[in-house]
Symmetry: C2
Subunit: 207 residues, 2 copies
DNA sequence: TACCTGATGCAACTCAGTCACATCAGATGT
DNA sequence: ACATCTGATGTGACTGAGTTGCATCAGGTA
């Protein structure tokens, strides 16, 4: 346990968020972060793979979560229901405190291309995990891809809404609502493409 | 024109691909690349924003392409047709030589997390460009998002197929085929979710 | 008291990326 | 020919991320 000051990771995270908010991400050095946390650069890099990971710590667990959600759906669940369950289990991982963190993080993230790139990568990793889990349950790979895109899109826009408002709502509430919205939108978009009952030939829009 | 040896960018790209293939991306230093190209590190970083961009040079133009494709669709084109046109114009940008480059690049890319992250970022940027263009034409934002995801997914899996086979087919051929496949798959996945014929009033997240 | 263990510090290192300044090859004008 | 202008390249020093081997230190155990 904590022989030295406890919770080195937490202290580093808080120090980093403070400094990022004050001076921006790029203008903050890892030495400064370690310094404010009462540690050294070496320890920082022992606890985090790189500077960006300070901000995204724990996102690795999300991959396991979404997979678990897909796996734990009922045996006769449809592809759609498996996807929904994956995204819902994913959403369940966020406590109310994450809302505050999200509010602090968002502007920092928006101003830093480097952080943005990592964020996109995490999103992609989660999407791939969802897609892979669905495929693992025998779902057609193209359906799995489309479902994963839709589900993760719902998750992220639900997250944005959840962070933006200030009520007692759960992340899962917003995500579920977004799934419904996106399902309707996707259906409408596809309807315009394939009005015939049997999805056959497409007319390309020659340029 | 070339007062010195011409085509510095091309020489650097070739040198980089050689070295990456020989020793891997991470094990190759920028100085080595510049050296083999008969240049210096400084010049390398004058021509490329960073080490990763050597491999992804020119992807920035793709954003403009997909936007142009969406813009140049017929005035009364449906949301779907605008998306298709955007993706097709995007596909038209690749000559046959890109196939060879793709074959060399793919294994390098697969072995390097760093390059992978950049690749994902580029994909995301193209998706956002497509989504934004569609929204700019008055298309509902949720539809735009879903359409962009589907279109770019078709583009990338079409690209994979195009690179994998060795015939006279065009990238656009494969992408178009993938759009059809994905449209069918998405329709099927949604059908299981919403069996009711009228996807009517969708309630947005309470806010 | 002696030992063990895991978390931390220290110092030196490599490499990506930046910058100010010098240089060099060719085009232009006289 | 000669001087000059211009843009592409080289030089060398610098910052900061990330790594590594070794020392140290706090606490638990015998």
């Amino acid at each position: 346990m904590g022989r030295w000051e406890p919770d080195a990771r937490g202290r580093l995270l808080r120090a980093a968020l403070e400094l990022f908010a004050e001076h921006g991400y790029e203008a903050t050095t890892t030495a400064q972060i370690a310094d404010r946390a009462g540690l050294t650069k070496t320890t920082l890099f022992r606890l985090f793979a790189d500077k960006r990971e300070i901000v995204f710590q724990g996102q690795g667990e999300l991959l396991a979560l979404v997979t678990r959600g897909v796996d734990e759906a009922l045996n006769d669940a449809s592809a759609w229901d498996r996807m929904v369950n994956g995204v819902l289990v994913l959403s369940g991982a966020h406590a109310h405190e994450h809302r505050t963190t999200g509010r602090i993080l968002d502007p920092i993230l928006a101003r830093s291309p480097e952080l943005n790139e990592r964020a996109v990568f995490k999103r992609s990793a989660i999407t791939s995990a969802l897609e892979g889990s669905l495929i693992g349950h025998g779902i057609d790979r193209w359906q799995a891809g489309a479902l994963a895109d839709l589900g993760i899109r719902a998750y992220y826009s639900g997250y944005d809404l959840w962070v933006a408002v200030d009520d007692s709502s759960t992340l899962a509430d917003h995500v579920l609502a977004q799934i419904t919205v996106l399902r309707g939108a996707a259906a409408q978009a596809l309807e315009a493409a394939a009005p015939q009952p049997h999805p056959a030939g497409v007319r390309s829009a020659d340029g």
